[in-house]
Symmetry: C2
Subunit: 297 residues, 2 copies
DNA sequence: CGCCAGATTGACACGGCTCAAGCGGTGTGG
DNA sequence: CCACACCGCTTGAGCCGTGTCAATCTGGCG
């Protein structure tokens, strides 16, 4: 939420935002990865549900994948510049792909919701260009890179599905860029919320949707290129107009058509027609605590 | 270069910028596609030069491709929402991928330089989410979608190369998003110029590079999310500091290390190590006229 | 019950946008 | 061969959307 051009003078005050790498986000002490029972860990995944896979290919994928692991919030799943040897699927919880500016400015290049593949680039690129960090407690599944490559070589459907995932991510990123470059704060938020409501598979009824929405205002700011303060003010406007409401991590959009109009949102770019409909996870998910970081030890 | 939040009141004045679709860019009357002799049209292409292809696969690609065609400047190669049935390679000249905001704001999601693939998404997505338009006269080569799919199915190297192209485009887009969201005008321009100097394969010597650079200031603005006026002022600053100079479509960066520092540029994300080095095209290319559009009808 | 992350508020500053001319070069029609 | 027409580049004045800085408030958790 810091902009780069601003120098980071105040190393003094305690809870002031600080450059990312200096620990504005809490440093992680234990990754607390523990195994969880599972049978079809990939089932709710966008890759799994894409129309490009045959059932045989689905089976092959399922066998190649590790079992579920649960991860704390604020954990780096992928660190910028370090070797990455697995594709990570986020089965439950939210994460983000982020990059930082020399000045400490932080920016998200993706918000990852349940079912998303966190780091497709690890398939072909060994040093990731940006990190991936959980925003909530999450459960993930890994597909070792070598296995993924082998599968993609043997099964053209799997290769095609990977390419498709990359193309959709591209389309989303292009829309984000459009927002970042040419939309006002209000439009940015409207567009983002419309997008997320669809991506998490929330069921709209009577122009209204509700869905789990763990990000803090600061994290929203890092996604749309604003300041946490300004996100706050803009949210107040949207709230005052009766368009959005957030209560205990659940976001409600009360007038989706209006929001779409404001944000200039057209769902086509998400290409949801190439995926089997995904059921929305339970509205209040006990595994979703935006676990507050315990202070330094 | 219009920002969306601004209403477009002045339909009166003559040379004022106008919403994109209303013809700020000249409307195209004739596509003027004419054949040109060629032998290995794909040779200078990033796909062709990627390490993922075997020589057999290169041959297969070469055979599948149409012969070169030359295209005028300001021509839509791909129109948003319309069916696209070919992958287009831009062999010579520059183009851009663009999208527009309801308010008429225009934004580029990519600048395409010689050797780039214009619309990889056409491989799997039939209605493109954004348009592609030439910025200069250009020569292009097409690979029919069905052929591309068949090749990707038969040759895993080709499939892999496609995926790789998508991933690199993604990485570039992510950096653009970082710029858009968190960098100042000066930083944005510095970063963009550093990126382009590498992508066009310009040879740096003694901290200095020169390369063909056809975009107008307005087009630069559409790439970095600024106004043409502000790009102009920022360019003046960079020029005054002796960092960049443009003369007759040739850009010279006189102090690349300094520019990289300003823009926070780290070339890793371009993953040039996965492509055979590409020779820089001749510095002044007679085919590069930023052909001015003749006026109406 | 105290702590702390996150949400909220207010005062103020500034980067970048808007509006409005003006300038120089270059194809083009007369 | 000249004179427009027109594109792209510049410049100046003024404004406003967002950022900055600094408190304060609030609810959940240990």
């Amino acid at each position: 939420m810091l902009r780069s051009q601003q120098t980071c003078r105040s190393a003094s005050v305690l809870y002031r935002p600080e450059p990312f790498h200096l620990g504005k986000w809490p440093t992680v002490r234990s990754c607390a990865i523990k195994r969880v029972s599972d049978d079809e860990p990939l089932k709710c995944t966008r890759l799994w549900n894409s129309y490009y896979l045959s059932s045989e290919e689905r089976r092959a994928l399922q066998q190649a994948v590790t079992s579920r692991r649960s991860v704390n919030a604020h954990v780096d799943l992928v660190s910028e510049g370090e070797l990455a040897d697995s594709l990570l699927f986020i089965v439950e919880g939210w994460a983000c792909r982020y990059a930082t500016t020399i000045g400490g400015g932080r920016h998200f290049s993706a918000l990852l919701v349940p079912g998303d593949l966190c780091n497709l680039e690890a398939l072909l690129i060994d040093r990731p260009d940006c990190g991936v960090r959980t925003m909530t407690a999450a459960t993930i599944v890994a597909l070792p890179r070598e296995l993924a490559l082998a599968l993609a070589t043997q099964h053209s459907g799997i290769a095609r599905a990977f390419t498709w995932l990359a193309l959709v991510e591209n389309a989303i990123l292009a829309k984000w860029a459009l927002s970042l470059g040419r939309r006002s704060a209000k439009e940015k938020l409207a567009h983002l919320f419309c997008e997320l409501s669809l991506r998490v598979g929330a069921q709209e009824r009577e122009y209204e949707v509700s869905f789990n929405f763990p990000p803090t205002q600061e994290q929203i700011a890092d996604a749309v290129g604003l300041t946490a303060v300004h996100v706050n003010r803009t949210m107040q406007v949207l709230r005052a107009e009766g368009l959005v409401a957030i209560a205990s991590r659940i976001m409600t959009l009360s007038d989706v058509p209006r929001l779409r109009q404001i944000g200039g949102f057209d769902p086509g770019y998400l290409h949801l027609d190439r995926v089997r409909a995904n059921t929305q996870p339970p509205l209040v998910n006990p595994n979703y605590p935006r676990s507050r970081s315990r202070r330094g030890s």
